[in-house]
């Protein structure tokens, strides 16, 4: 039997390298793109941009609030600044600056937050963003993108360059499981359907897309067929795909490397509550701060695994059956 995870292996390229290559490609054709850093360009991987475009690269030093405000001011003059920091500092530390200096006055600033959730790993709890998506979702008209692998950066960065507004790219710097072939197509705001079952739909983003595929394989072994959606754009959410999943599968599991409060799970529940409410189980971080450890350890620690998704799917399907029997 063929498996959804067949052929999926750890990428040979780091996510940060793929990101920077995509940004450089755009910058060769667009003189308005500026890189702004706050002393983590080495970690975030923007160094090659400095080499090619020294006049368009600004490392402010450790001053995230200023860096965001300055980016806002630059965008007022027509530039397109991409500000980089670890996810916690890119969003939480500079939130009022993103909110008022950028979004409130309708400026055009791109926020790139590295090390989503447990991928912060040995940097530990102080560096582990479980709330960045929630914060960014609260900003009117924001766009939030979390690529599952390196194949998506071309589409994500191109969208960010060519569409005006405050956008948040939640990006891992490490090598990650390569889900998509080179040249795969992505449309920002449209979920990618990676498997098409009818018993339950797993809606995942980032590193949880691979876990979702593994879970779908495990469920298939039990005769349960899952649809898998890569919800790479968390805002604006592809509500049509969510509603179709509710109609056609009747049970939904969300899977995110983030707090279920405010994140993908919350976004899906909000969309369903207003369209077609069906049983939902949310796999993700619940009322916890981050911790130090290897990524594998942390995924188990916070329940961000295929096994948890399988359990959630079974629970969700049983809830669906109870609901159906009441009808």
């Amino acid at each position: 039997m063929s498996r959804l995870t067949d052929g999926i292996a750890l990428d040979t390229k780091e996510m940060r390298a793929a990101y920077c290559e995509a940004l450089i490609r755009e910058a060769r054709n667009n003189g308005r793109i500026i890189v702004v850093d706050a002393d983590v360009s080495h970690s975030v991987g923007t160094e090659p941009f400095y080499k090619e475009f020294p006049g368009r690269s600004i490392n402010c030093g450790i001053m995230e609030a200023h860096a965001v405000g300055m980016s806002a001011g630059m965008s007022e003059t027509g530039l397109i600044p991409f500000f980089h920091a670890f996810g916690v500092f890119a969003t939480r530390r500079a939130f009022d600056q993103i909110f008022l200096s950028c979004a409130y006055q309708k400026l055009n600033v791109k926020i790139v937050g590295a090390d989503p959730g447990v991928t912060a790993a040995t940097n530990g709890g102080t560096h582990m963003p479980f709330e960045d998506i929630g914060l960014m979702r609260l900003i009117p008209n924001s766009v939030i993108i979390e690529p599952a692998d390196a194949a998506m950066y071309g589409a994500a960065v191109s969208y960010m360059v060519n569409n005006y507004g405050v956008h948040y790219l939640r990006t891992s710097r490490r090598k990650t499981m390569r889900i998509y072939p080179d040249g795969a197509e992505f449309v920002i705001g449209k979920a990618n359907k990676l498997a098409d079952g009818g018993d339950v739909c797993i809606i995942a983003s980032g590193i949880m897309v691979y876990e979702a595929l593994k879970a779908a394989d495990m469920l298939a072994d039990k005769g349960i067929y899952a649809r898998v959606l890569d919800m790479h754009t968390i805002k604006p959410l592809d509500t049509a795909a969510v509603e179709a999943a509710a109609r056609e599968c009747g049970a939904i599991v969300t899977a995110e490397n983030h707090n279920v409060t405010g994140g993908l799970g919350a976004a899906v529940c909000e969309a369903l509550a207003e369209t077609l409410p069906v049983p939902v189980e949310r796999v993700g971080v619940k009322e916890s701060f981050g911790e130090v450890g290897g990524q594998d350890y942390l995924q188990k620690r916070f329940g961000l695994t295929a096994e948890e998704i399988v359990k959630a799917a079974e629970k969700c399907i049983s809830r669906k059956k109870i609901q159906e029997s009441k009808k």
Binding site: I58, H66, G69, A72, G73, E76, G78, D96, L100, S101
Partner: protein, 274 residues
């Protein structure tokens, strides 16, 4: 510059601002009055701006980081013809183009939105950098409050300005020695601002912020030696009889009578000093 012309402009701006706040019935009078002379000099003698083309890319920018004093800037912009002076009466009303705090999307002539203290200087740095990177002319002037300087982001920005020798931006400190809850020296001592800026690597000047000639001289000198700051020694509430008080004057309820008296006093003082 012509001293008398600019002093007359300052008096007009003060009167319009008092009228404006009186129409709303209350407002941030203290910090608005302390910058009227500075705004008069900027808009009469310093800034290259055009009320007919307020978004011209190579204009000089003015960012009022202490955005709660928008009413003084609105009075200045109305005086300069950016919009009708009658609009000043709509301050803070629902649907107005003149909100309590500066909003670039609502008011012609407002370059950037402010209101969360501590953010304007970074915005100004961004504009200055944007001009430099794109080879666009024009300078940037940012007005910050003395209380506002307690916000750490200002000092992030100052470090950036010094390190990068930002040569098209002037920091203007409205050192009116008071903030919301009282005297700045009682809440968080400022020490010597001039020495403070200099120790960060910024040229610093001091001026009497109510003497239009001194304001002009120091702003001109600062613009010629960027990165630079001008510490304007001012009085919170200055030039408006009812707000020149030692007690609370950050915002005040303003009656028609108070406004009429204060406006007559502005005229009297102008005549006496010309």
């Amino acid at each position: 510059m012509d001293r008398k012309t600019t002093m007359k402009a300052a008096a007009e701006i003060r009167k319009l601002c008092i009228e404006e706040l009186a129409a709303a019935g209350y407002g941030h009078i203290g910090g608005s009055m302390s910058i009227c002379d500075i705004l008069a000099v900027l808009y009469t003698d310093i800034l290259d701006t055009d009320p007919k083309d307020p978004r011209r890319p190579d204009r000089d920018y003015l960012i009022l980081s202490k955005g709660h004093c928008g009413p003084a800037l609105y009075a200045t912009l109305a005086y300069k013809g950016y919009f009708d002076v009658e609009e000043l009466k709509t301050l803070n009303r629902g649907g107005t183009s003149l909100p309590s705090h500066c909003d670039r999307l609502k008011t012609p002539g407002i370059d950037l939105s402010t209101g969360s203290l501590g953010q304007g200087l970074s915005l100004g740095v961004g504009v200055a950098m944007g001009k430099k990177i794109q080879g666009v002319g024009g300078r940037v002037f940012v007005i910050v409050g003395d209380g506002e300087l307690q916000e750490g982001q200002n000092w992030e920005a100052v470090q950036f300005i010094a390190h990068n020798s930002i040569s098209n931006l002037v920091i203007i400190v409205d050192n009116n020695k008071r903030q919301l809850d009282g005297y700045t020296k009682d809440i968080c001592r400022t020490f010597d601002y001039k020495a403070k800026f200099e120790s960060f690597g910024i040229h610093a000047f001091e001026a009497n912020g109510h003497d239009v000639c001194d304001i002009y001289d120091k702003l001109t000198a600062a613009a010629g030696t960027c990165p630079a700051a001008v510490i304007m020694n001012t009085e919170k509430g200055h030039g408006c009889s009812f707000s020149e008080i030692p007690g609370f004057n950050h915002y005040m309820v303003i009656s028609r009578e108070m406004a009429d008296q204060a406006i007559a006093e502005v005229d009297r003082r102008l005549e006496a000093s010309l």
